[in-house]
Amino acid sequence: MKHISYRKLIFIILAIILLAVSLPACSSQNSAHLNMMPLDKMPVEVQSAPVTVQTAYQFAAANPDVMKQVPCYCGCGNIGHTSNYSCYVSGVDDKDNITFDNHALGCSICVDITQDVMRLLKEGKTVPEIKTYVDATYSKYGTSNMP
């Protein structure tokens, strides 16, 4: 009887150690799932772009409702862009075919903003909260393309 108790005790101790070590590791990972357009649906230039640019295009194309509410601060309001979404997508026809804009391929702020949007969504922030963050972070460098 005593022998069995010790085995149980050792098992429980090991389980706790495993739990104690793995819980903090899990908590630092973002498990929220983001809707992303498959990379093979992207233009060739995007497929050969840096990973941060690829994921920004994939996210933007799949989340117009979010991206149209987030501004860009790269100065692209001067070329008719009306949100961060415009930096990636220049048009969608009535059959949902997307015309991509290559502007973000060479844009630093555009992609940084989209990466912030993705991260903050994973952290559970709402779109208005994300917009507030983007305005506060990037208005030090440029002008918003949203009123």
Binding site: L9, I12, I13, I16, I17, A20, V21, P24, A25, S48, A49, P50, V51, T52, V53, Y73, C74, G75, C76, N78, I79, C87, N102, H103, A104, L105, G106, C107, S108, I109, C110, V111, D112, Q115, R119, A136, T137, S139, K140, Y141, G142, T143
Partner: protein, 328 residues
Amino acid sequence: MKMRRSIFLTLACFALIGLIAAWVFSRQPITIHARIAEDGGFMPDNIKVRAGESLRLRLISDDVDHTFAIGQNSMEPVLLKPGEPVYLTLTFAKPGTYIFYTTMPSSLNYWRMRGTIEVTGDGEVQVAQLPLYVKLGLELDEEHGEGEEHFELARQPSVSSGEAFADQIPAMYLARDYYVAHSPMETFEELRVASALQSLSNEQLWNVVAYIWLQNSTSTALLEGRRLYQVNCAACHGENSAGDGQFADEMKAIAEQNQDKHGIQPPTDFTDAEHLLEEKPAVLQGLILRGGMGTGMPMWGTIFTDEQTWDLVAYLYSFQFEYQGVNQ
């Protein structure tokens, strides 16, 4: 009684082991892998830490040589050689968002290798200030020189020659507010028609403009500007600023293929007098802060301090003006 004592001892044992395990885990450094931007860049690219707490990092390159630097921080870039981990312990005194990045031009998109360290904690929340070019109502993306008469300088304007006329320069031209909002060309044209210096030759007047420009910097600032340029800008703009850095040809080829004025462009050639002498300091600072609008020029506002952006602006003009001790 014996049973209760046994349960108590067991629970105490568990608590102790849990605490030890948590402590051991908290002492483990966070590993950041570095790969060229096309293969992922820095991973992970977002880290959180509380102000005042130690952040232990294990940095390792998975492919080629990289560096690890932190913006707005005096730490020298750390070299990461493939397969050789480097350990760093950092402490951030103030809450805020700090950018880590590479200074090593490992690929065309090396400037995309960036990540953030979010430092949380109690502290004064900084109210965002608009950049100077926005306050002044200046445009960063205007076309230059179209329809205007082309000009070339016979020789590089000399500060030491311009100094001979220093006591004839109206005070307004030496004011900081004037400097940031006017290009050297505008200053030359104003001096030509509206000052005691209007009788000078063009060459003499350009020497005066060079003198005015140097009054808005210091030798320390110019040397810091040169250091920043060499570390962060030369890979694209070239060591001698002719727009001929190691990635210039690739950028030119992309620009020719795209035919898009708002896409990737070849790096600016600062040896082009017509271009640089028509740039206002506040516009150059804005371009450094914000980056190009889709041109492939990264934003540096999150990396350089405000003072560093002005040091770099002052240094850029040394590609047109003869500054003793900087380009002599």
